[in-house]
Symmetry: C2
Subunit: 382 residues, 2 copies
Amino acid sequence: MREVAIVAAGMTRFGELWESSLRDLFVEAASDAMRNAGVDAVDDIYIGNMSGGQFVGQEHLAPLMADHLGLAGVGATRVESACASGGAALRLGYLSVASGMSDVVLVAGVEKMTDGADATQVLATAADQETEAYHGITFPGLYALIARAYMERYGATEEDLAWVAVKDHAHGALNPKAQFPRKITVEDVLSSTMVSDPLRLLNCSPVSDGAAAVILVPLEEASKYTDRPVRIRGVGQATGSMALADREDPTWLDAVAAAAERAYRMAGVGPEDIQVAEVHDCFSIAEVCCIEALGFVERGEGAAAAREGLTALGGRIPVNTSGGLKAKGHPVGASGVAQAIEIFHQLRGEAGERQVEGARIGLTQNMGGSGASAVVHIFERV
Amino acid sequence: MREVAIVAAGMTRFGELWESSLRDLFVEAASDAMRNAGVDAVDDIYIGNMSGGQFVGQEHLAPLMADHLGLAGVGATRVESACASGGAALRLGYLSVASGMSDVVLVAGVEKMTDGADATQVLATAADQETEAYHGITFPGLYALIARAYMERYGATEEDLAWVAVKDHAHGALNPKAQFPRKITVEDVLSSTMVSDPLRLLNCSPVSDGAAAVILVPLEEASKYTDRPVRIRGVGQATGSMALADREDPTWLDAVAAAAERAYRMAGVGPEDIQVAEVHDCFSIAEVCCIEALGFVERGEGAAAAREGLTALGGRIPVNTSGGLKAKGHPVGASGVAQAIEIFHQLRGEAGERQVEGARIGLTQNMGGSGASAVVHIFERV
């Protein structure tokens, strides 16, 4: 396989972007990335999107987006893996360049969630319809079950979970693209509305609009486009049991652990080598379980990580320096690509106030549903 | 890139399969393919599906399907390109093996269309929501516009279009998996209900449930799985203008022509080398336009091909020996994979009564919407 590098990135602000349609969001991010790479054409496009069909009545996004970008004719593919759609698209872009099929690839993620559909119901179609959604449970409830099981097993507290959100918002306050670029306190979290016990409003990522895009090329061609390419060194994808009830231990994310193991093996590195990471904090408990499955901390020690500063800027392994899904926003199909953009900026030393000094190796972890699908990428400054 | 071969196939019957759910259909076809390949595990799964979300309220199909196949853990990806979803999935499976990322890949297409959703409205989400569907037009109307333009430009008649359906049904009558395995006459077509002038009921492919699956491996490993592998020699994907009104000539399918040109170039063959083909006959007029864009006949000569026997079994270039989408059925996400299965059987000499004698090179062409996305594959008997 050829080595593959990211050479440019572009993204919209994340938020409730009433003035922008699904296609507007895509075109803004994709044009931004192409301008930054200095290209006016690409060989192939891969688009992550969870549910244009249900959110805004639009399937067949690949030709629509290519057309509105002014590139009708190009090969284009839309991929869906619920909230891991962006990560899945990045993996396909990687395969397209690594295989030799394409020399310049645009990978984008996009979601328009605020145009009228009931977001919670649409998102629930990422759960098992026959054994979960049919009985009325939606994702806040599924993650609340995980949180409750975790708290009972490991003695974690609501305050531990609050610290995850506080840490992510402290990071997000430094990110001008974030939906909620402001600090919050533990007291704010603990006094926010209860959504699904023990998860409160400020433990939950928001409903967002947004798009994110990157340009991939063969590493050996990268210097034509930038003097600071970021190599994709490891790629791992995995699945786990779809229904939470089918898992031996609901607090352990099998698919994340398997995807990470594949990415680490391919990259020839371990969790101890990762200097900055973006993980899938759709709910505070998700970040806790993810950093365990990624091997950043031992099982049962994830809940203390934010409170103890381990995962904060300046800590041993800064997690979600972008603000994460919680503070940056979570336009579901875009999130996996936006994660890669944060690591791209970190490894190029252009993350501004939220820069992790000297970061050379970074990781992204994106997942779908209650963790049934997961994609992990490992990046390295060249 | 590594050479890639199909070594096994499996599919359900196509039809109104009330007793089978979306997951049942997938598991039946995938298990069948795996059994035929003699494997009980795969490295990666690629699934084509247009709209599980809208048809049956189920997104996140990749982990769900992997789990129900008994393979939770495996990497799995769902791709959507409207009615070209199956073809797009096959292309991704090809990339996965060609790149060296995977050694044994399951590619499947599946759609469950009869469980209550308004199929015409769901399918219309493959058209441009802002300039087409919003104004009330659905696909029978869009293809009727193409047909009317074609008839006016080239002097084709309703009888010419009827012959396409008659030919496809004559083939489908020989296919035990077909939804409508029976012959029809020109008189049957011309007296059937008008759906959207000039397209009548028997000019339209049906609403169907079904699934189809194939196993891909590196060509050099293929003899471990079968003594008759079929090599994938060319792959082409392209897009065109999403909205019909944006096309210079609505009777000419730009995306199909571009995808075909890429596949022919990669395979080092031309249309004159193709001995059997499955093309996207969602409506009779679609087959007419497709065989022109594929270069099987000159522009304006597509309408006469079925009537003159050119595309029938025994003709110069038999098209849709399976019965095509018209007679075999069109579970939209599955159709692209089912096309590949027909060519797989033809090139292995196991197509029974519908065998094209001595076929060595075959082609599939799958498209989405009114032709805005297209995927072409070229296959060769090894």
